[in-house]
Amino acid sequence: MRKIFKHEPAPGRIAGDVDDELAFHIQERTEKLIGQGMSPDAARTEALKQFGDMRDVRDSCVTLDRARASEVRRSRRFEELRQDLAYAWRSTRRNPGFALVVILTLALGIGANTAIFTLVDAVLLRKLPVREPDQLFAIGNPTSVGNVSVSDRQRADIMSYPQYRHIRDNARSFSGVLASGRGGRLDVYVGEPNGDPEHPSTRFVSGNYFSVLGVPAFIGRTFEDRDDREGQAPPIAVISHGYWTRRFASEPSAIGRIIRVQGQQLTIVGVTPPGFRGEIVGSSPELWLPITLQPVLNPYQPMLEDMQYQWFLLLARRNDGVTESQATAEMTTMLRNWIDEKTPPRGARSQVPEPVYLASGARGFSWVREEYRVPLFTLMAGVGLVLLMICANIANLLFARAIGRGREMGVRLSLGAGRARLVRQLLTESLLLALFATGTGLLVATWGSRILLLMAGNDDTPVPVDANLSLPVLGFTVLLTILALGLFGLAPALRTSRVDLASVMRAQSRSLASGLGGGPGRLLSGQLLITAQVALSLVLVLGAALLVRSLSRLQNTDTGLDRDRLLVVDVAAQQRGYMDERRDQLLRQVTERVTALTGVKAVSFSENGIFSGTESSTNFFVPGFTARDENDTTAYYDEVGPGYVEAIGGRLIEGRDISDRDVAGSVPVILVNQTMAQFYWPGRSAVGQTIRYHQVSLEVVGVLADTKDHALDSKPVRRFYLAYTQRAIEDPVALRVLVRATDDPALLGNPVAAEIRAIDPELRVRHEPLAVTIRESIAQERMMARLAGGFGVLALLLAAIGLYGLMTFATSRRTGEIGLRMALGAKRGDVVRMVLLEAFKLVGLGLVVGVPFAFAATRLLKNQLFDVPAGDPVSAIVAVAVLTGAAALAALIPALRASRVDPMTALRQE
């Protein structure tokens, strides 16, 4: 017997093999029977008879063989995977430095991407953790989440309590409608009321709030419908799981505890489940209070029955079978009718209907969503580019390593390993690295997203969104890993496995590189990678340059205020019941005492303060001015004390400042800013003109240069300033004392607070230098600039490392040639120049490709840039220069090394 081949039939051959085998048997048997004297036909019939049921036997043999074949395949595949993994593990262990570099850089890339995506998921994508969030329907403008509008004019973006009641009781699309409004800053004492109160984040909500959302109590109970039955204000509160853990040490006995809120005793009745953060993404209430408690807690500003106070956003649960468009139709009509019926017909009412804000409520309300959408996507693009560059670098490293493994691959190929098998094996090695990197990357991500939230927030308080890893985030990370693996692992694996056996087997170490299907090939792919890296890093560096420049423009923008010398002091006068005459008295005392302090240049006060986040606006009538629409007669305003312009360091263009003679009873006066003066009285003096609010005529006594009162990046808007103490159109609520210092205003904080407490020790005072407030107001811009700068530096580093690696490789291949050149009289400088020139060719090519690409990409930044055009040439020049400099440094080291080649040694090596 001679063996021909190992019996391992291809799946398609199984049936044929069985047929052959059985045919052989019949043939042998027939021949034997013929040999015994039978006729061929009879012999064949007899053979078949002896065999039995041929078809049945054949079928069962085929079935058995198929089963066996698939078992063999499966176990072989498993065995190969085991081998590949073991092998990958060994080769990783053998080269720990390489593995560490790959794992760490990749972990950084994956981690950064996951961190940003965590935020994208938390802020933009995730649905509320409530019952059937898709049924929810949002009524109101999400960016008005923390607003209170005081106006006769009825609105559709934010609602009054009577309007909420109307919708709740009459809308037919919904099984329930909840209302939620800002809680504001409430003084809370958990224990005895001494020392400073705490200010947890609060929210006033309707009694059906939790039942409409479908959120049960974690312990205790939530609010019930009866909790806001008219005329009742049950003294109860529900606290969040976080607050319960932090302030009550997760004690079940917290239920039933009494806390003091604004001096009122409230009983804690329940704790919400962990993970529930209310219906507003980007805020995290710790204390929920029944709406009906509002007038009890703020007796000086009851906002419940007065239709002027519009401060609720509504979330409704759609009835089964009611679509979003049906709900939208019903609500649009309802809101428009309400506005038409309830807004007093005065002045020129806009012909344009009030915009309504109706949307799916599945993801709740959020102002951060709008605010962070573009920055988040920008960051996403940034980290995506960084990951691309990291992949390119790792691919480069793998290519370099391929040179060293040419012989190994050659040996394996010649021992009969298939090319596919080699590719699979190399990919397994990359996969192992990628798995380690993903694990580390997830750690990086959890830290990273927390740090980002901290950077985006104010005062060391992170933006309160849930940054825990979620399933979509994990899915994203896995996808990212696969993608990265495909990017950096596949090409080197394919190339490494393409070994020219003959030259490898010649076993000359110097020809190994060429055995690898080419040193030139390796160089070419390396050059392509470098060009791509230069182009990519240019995008990141240019983006960083633009954002940093924009930030510095923003920081140094002229506010029209003496911003570095101002101290803003928030005085809770209303909470102590200071009204009318008593408040005037208080203001006189405060001004007098603070002015007397050393280091104080001027003192005044206003209702809204500066950069406080609180602004007022109103409608009025301007005699002689024809308004096109309602916006034309709207302006921002504040109520300010005597000497206001002087105190904020503003500039009077015309007329006079508010003075201490502008008191209740005298002719009501206002200051207007330049924008307002030019808008209503172009080419004329504004002083002496009047505007009318209801029946009150307000006379312009001064014009001041435009100031940026509440945002650095705001365009000039119309503003006017009423005299605080005249109370001409309404009674001011808040009180902010503005102190202009001769020196550092921070030093004045405590002395000023002490003076105010000396008048009334119970007065609550908060103070902050304006510069600090302003810095916090641009926290997001600072974060973006810092992150973009970080990405830029990282990109530079990656590109430089890549270029360094490539040039080192290229010059090492040319040692002989360089030696020859030097032997023929080339100077060291010539060699350095030659190598640098080669590097610059690559960098130049990258820049040529990169510049238009970078400009196209950074156009996306347009809306985030302040006073810097997206195509800013200065930034572009800086970016190109920085990149070229980094490249020169990276190429200089191999160039110098090459120039130190000893010609004799080099030539002998050849």
């Binding site: 017997m1 001679r2 063996k3 021909i4 081949f5 190992k6 019996h7 093999d17 069985v18 052959d20 085998e21 059985l22 052989f24 048997h25 043939q27 042998e28 048997r29 002896q50 065999f51 039995g52 049921d53 041929m54 049945d56 036997v57 079928d59 069962s60 043999c61 079935t63 058995l64 063989d65 089963a67 066996r68 078992e71």
Partner: protein
């Protein structure tokens, strides 16, 4: 009375073959009329001297048992393929004495162990059964 425990290996585990489940020929005993497991033992024994093709195995069984045991030859092949799947046999294509392509089977290492185990248990079984039928009381 001595206690006896059956250790017939291939009878111990119930076999489910596709064609049995198909119910194509439920009355046909898959081992061609042999006591279950006996055919396996005979095949293993037939291959204990070296590789043979299926026909040679059949001839050996006919000769060794005086044509008494193997009624039909078809089930022999089912058994060969089954034993190959179990890993007791390895198969290779080769050329027969008459230069025809034939599938040769040989015992694997585990097949050899299996043969030893089956012989032992068969002998114990046979002794026990013989003893039982020879009993006079």
């Amino acid at each position: 009375m001595r206690r006896f425990k059956s250790q017939l290996p291939s009878a111990a585990a119930p076999r489910t073959f596709p064609y049995e489940q198909d119910g194509k020929n439920p009355m046909m005993d898959p081992d061609g009329g042999l006591l279950r497991g006996t055919l396996d033992l005979l095949i293993l024994k037939a291959l204990s001297w070296g590789p043979r093709h299926g026909y040679a195995v059949a001839e050996w069984i006919h000769g060794a048992t005086d044509h008494t045991l193997l009624v039909e030859e078809g089930p022999l092949y089912t058994a060969l393929h089954r034993l190959e799947r179990k890993g007791w046999l390895e198969a290779e294509w080769g050329l027969s004495e008459k230069n025809r392509k034939a599938k040769y089977y040989q015992l694997s290492r585990s097949g050899r162990q299996q043969l030893r185990a089956e012989i032992t248990s068969w002998e114990r079984y046979a002794v026990a059964v013989s003893k039982a039928i020879a009993a006079t009381t």
